[in-house]
Symmetry: C2
Subunit: 207 residues, 2 copies
């Protein structure tokens, strides 16, 4: 099946649904209604049904969704049905948190290698992942790693991104608080942890 004109917002929500489904499956749920899923993840059932409608809808009226089947479908849409190797650049506080983070595995990610420019870190391991010299980024091509996480100071982020693109990387998750420019075929997602907190006060009571 070909999917046409899927809104980015829908794609942004699919991992949220996937995560909810993985938790629900762990809790022993075989079927789930859009209302249950919505309650669990803090969303709206109509939103879920609308998002799923782009893919032909997945549920049976009155029965709801089969949790395992839906999980597989979403993984397929998001191209998460195979293990994906990723590289981390920058093993500072944030990078170390990324390496120690257990959450990547549930989506099928394997952070296979890390890079840093601090020679005191190079050769050491964090969470069993070896830290290599950042000058060796070009080895990513041979390792067939196309996915990278940038957690370096913002002054260095663009240069690192350029090197990653040269090494064949086509997907970048950028934690540096800056805009990165890259060729069109390369997808860059920037996460600014301050930006997420910036929408909290809107929802908080005045006093």
């Amino acid at each position: 099946m070909k999917y046409h004109r899927i809104p980015d917002e829908t794609i942004r929500r699919l991992p949220v649904y996937l995560r909810g489904l993985l938790f629900l499956a762990e809790g022993g749920n075989a079927n789930v209604s859009s209302q249950d899923l919505a309650d669990f993840i803090g969303s709206n059932p109509w939103q879920i049904r609308k998002d799923f409608s782009y893919f032909g809808g997945f549920g049976i009226r009155g029965v709801g969704y089969n949790v395992n089947k839906l999980t597989k479908e979403i993984k397929k849409i998001l191209k998460l049905n195979n293990v994906l190797k990723a590289a981390l650049v920058g093993a500072g506080n944030l990078g170390s948190a990324v390496l120690a983070y257990p959450g990547f595995k549930i989506y099928g990610f394997d952070v296979a290698v890390a890079f840093d420019n601090d020679l005191r870190k190079v050769g050491k391991k964090i969470n069993n992942i070896e830290i290599k010299d950042v000058s060796k980024l070009r080895t990513l091509k041979k390792r067939q790693i196309k996915l990278a996480i940038i957690a370096v100071p913002h002054q260095a982020a663009q240069q690192i991104a350029d090197s990653l693109v040269k090494a064949g990387v086509t997907g970048i998750l950028n934690f540096s608080p800056c805009y990165i420019s890259a060729p069109k075929k390369v997808k860059v997602i920037t996460i600014d942890i301050a930006m997420e907190i910036a929408r909290l006060p809107y929802y908080m009571p005045a006093n």
Copy 2:
């Protein structure tokens, strides 16, 4: 002015616009078109105009937006026009990254205090912010801090959230990979860094 039924997605995008405007202002831009702003942040001009239309629109046809005025308007909508004190709970790798992160200030956040249960950390400072014993969370009420960032292991997250709510916190940014339940008046935003990477492969070329 009262704002009715503003979609959550619009509120989610406003900090993205705000961030772009702050960068553009720094670069010396006095006016900006929706097209320029869209190009800069990687969005669409129609999306920006639609989001702004909920607030009556801010631009003048052919002239675009006044950067400073628009910045102020968005800050007002997001209730970011005053400095907001925040507390951090959990000074591990991720928490330390939060404390060292320069990006909170530009939105008007002041991470004023941190808490941890590791007595070797208590009393020390990271980035000039003192780390207090986590058993002292109730002091947040006296400090009038209503905003908290949770960066503890997921097993402890719910308990910390409960204590924060008891101490009067009404806004929580949760970095722990779990669902937190809280009373309705408390807004919880959960960031799962793995979830963000989960939508990258969708956009990456097959080979």
